[in-house]
Amino acid sequence: MSCPRSTQPWGPGVTDMQSRFTLLGAEHSVWLSRSADGYRLHVGASGDGLAISLSRGATGGTDRVLTVEGVGTPVVVAQRDDQVFIHLDGRAYALDFLDPVRSLGEDAAGAGENDIRAPMPGVVISVPIRPGDTVAAGDVLVVIESMKVQTTLRAGLAATVLSVHVAEGQTFDRDHVLVTLRAAS
């Protein structure tokens, strides 16, 4: 099958799989695309994106060269959990990756009904809960697969399952409501 080339090779539905990072309290949405030449960075509504690459580390591993559209900048990097630390142009920065799965669990923190939505399009692998079940924080709600990667969606806190909207094998789009919970009061 040939893939038609266009500036927007992804149709709506697969969509922009946005990743979010916070820096200095502000949230930034970005996504990467992959072409034969490497990765491209898309910030906001940029079309083609910027060609980017990061050199492999030498012995220590912290010194790298970031290349953006052919222009290189030395950086020093380090990581810890979901934080990326970067020394660039004489300043240190810390970016926090907002793991969509984890932040979804955190969203289900209010009183009343909480919709658990799909973070990305995919298919349901298993849904081991039924309406009326009580779940504790961390309990598995739905296991989904997207892009050949399995993801487990867990309850953010203790709740009762109000409704289950999908079944094993069912496909869905991003933001599709999969399960509705009511947080335990």
Binding site: C3, P12, S19, F21, S53, T62, V76, A78, V84, V149
Partner: protein
């Protein structure tokens, strides 16, 4: 009076000052020991000393306030002397006496001088009696019935303060004497409310005060010299952030007068070893009148910012301290003390000025110090060390020297840019903004400067190009992000599109 030879020295401190003292002790060929709390076991001083002895306490700080434990550690390590660093027990006369009673040499002044200067009211009276300038004041206790009249005679502006006070509570500035009585009434009621004591004193207030301090050195034979001054006006909540020598504010003649006053005060107190006399200096605003300076207090210890003096004089103050404590005569007189060029120090803290200077914590994941010409770094942290809130948040001092102030500033800014510390947020960007600030560069600072210019602490968000580069690095290092990108082309090829 003769001292005792010193062959081994125990450093009763931690962090950067422990490393700093150890460095000189080793250079002088002394054996070295350090006490440490387990939370600091990865700190470089522990490995740098010949012997490291753990100390315990209800809190990490409490361990360093336990003189008995520290003296026992010195004996256990076979040391002859104890250097207290700064903070902790460095100005505790009881500790100084206990060290001497234990047959050890305390690297610092005699306990009587510590007692005298430690009592701020007693020190002030001592200094005033000997004709040195103190801020004109009216103390209510001296004669309550004439208090208001005496206060009025000081002349505006004045500062009305509760005698029992602290932390700026209850203090009020009176710029128009017509408001003096109302201010006294209000301050009295606040003193009563906050401290249970409504007594007051009134002091002449210096507008836009500058903090000028003078380094002094005295041996056991009555020889005293000053090593010129440092200016430490850039402060926040009375905590110094930037220190420099010489002061950009003083005229040559003023400089000599302040330094001579400091040496005179030290001489009058029979001071021995290293100390610093602090003054408040100010020029009546918007006039050409000469500046006025007043004795504030004397610190009977080595100060954090001593490197600034070392870089302009070429002296090693810790070495001088050790020699004096060992009974040596001062190796030079006043006319042999010269300064060259200009030195500035900034204090690198684990804190976020952008968030009201909130303390920060983390692990040191990457660490690299600058090494340009005229640059010196006094640090006390190591890679992979955990930065906690157990102790004060100072990580290092970065100092730059240059032939003039502008060169020192340029070198210091470059040094800050070259400093890599990842894993724990620091005030490095703030320090750079401060050094770049027009007012600072013009030398037009005073102790209230940062409060007047909150934008220096705030900083600006990164521009678009920087943001893109940061996000690029973050994306390329975050596996879920690259994996999502890796998989999509093949998905597209396989599925056509997930529509709707």
């Amino acid at each position: 009076m003769t001292g005792h030879p010193i062959r081994g020295l125990l450093v009763a401190n931690r962090g950067e000052i422990a490393m700093r003292v150890l460095r000189t002790a080793r250079r002088l060929g002394l054996r070295t020991a350090v006490v440490y709390h387990t939370i600091d076991r990865d700190a470089p001083a522990v490995a740098a000393a010949d012997i490291a002895i753990p100390i315990i306490g209800a809190t990490p700080v409490a361990a360093f306030l336990d003189g008995t434990q520290i003296i026992a550690a010195a004996h256990e390590a076979g040391m002859d002397a104890i250097h207290p660093g700064y903070g902790f027990l460095s100005e505790n006369a009881g500790f100084a006496r206990a060290v001497a009673a234990a047959g050890l040499t305390f690297i610092g002044p005699g306990p009587d001088a510590i007692d005298l200067m430690g009592d701020k009211i007693r020190a002030r009276a001592f200094v005033a009696e000997r004709g040195f300038p103190v801020a004109p004041s009216a103390i209510e206790d001296d004669d309550p019935s004439t208090f208001t009249a005496r206060a009025r005679r000081l002349g505006a502006p004045v500062l009305v303060k509760p005698s029992a006070g602290g932390g700026g509570k209850g203090m009020r500035i009176v710029r128009d004497m017509a408001e003096l009585e109302a201010a006294i009434t209000a301050a009295r009621s606040e003193g009563q409310r906050y401290f249970g004591d409504g007594r007051l004193y009134v002091e002449r207030f210096v507008e836009r005060p500058r903090h000028i301090e003078v380094q002094v050195l005295g041996d056991a034979y009555g020889n005293i010299v000053h090593l010129f001054e440092r200016e430490c006006s850039v402060q926040r909540r009375f905590q110094k952030i930037v220190e420099e020598s010489p002061s950009p504010a003083l005229l040559a003649e003023e400089r000599l007068r302040i330094c001579a006053a400091a040496a005179g005060i030290a001489r009058a107190a029979g001071y021995r070893n290293a100390g610093t006399v602090e003054f408040i200096y100010g020029k009546p605003h918007g006039t050409d009148l000469a500046g006025e300076f007043y004795f504030l207090e004397m610190n009977t210890r080595l100060q954090v910012e001593h490197p600034v003096t070392e870089m302009v004089t070429g002296l090693d103050l810790v070495e001088q301290q050790i020699r004096i404590a060992a009974g040596e005569h001062l190796g030079f007189d006043q006319d042999e003390v010269r300064t060259t060029g200009h030195a500035i120090e900034v204090r690198l803290y684990a804190e976020a000025p952008e968030r009201d200077y909130a303390p920060t914590t983390g692990d040191v994941l990457a660490l690299r110090w600058p090494a340009g010409e005229g640059v010196r770094v006094d640090d006390g942290i190591a890679p992979r060390q955990r930065i906690t809130s157990a102790f004060d948040p100072m990580l290092a001092k970065i100092i730059a020297h240059g032939s003039d102030r502008a060169t020192a500033i340029t070198r210091l800014r470059r040094a800050l840019h070259e400093t890599v510390l990842l894993g724990c947020e620091t005030n490095a960007a703030f320090l750079d903004r401060l050094l770049a600030d027009a007012g600072f560069q013009a030398g037009a600072v005073h102790t209230g400067y940062l409060d007047l210019h909150p934008e220096i602490a705030q900083g600006m968000p990164p521009d678009e190009a920087t943001m893109a580069r940061l996000l690029a690095v973050a994306c390329l290092l975050t596996r879920p992000v690259t994996e999502a990108a890796d998989v999509v082309p093949s998905l597209h090829a396989a599925m056509g599109a997930w529509r709707n």
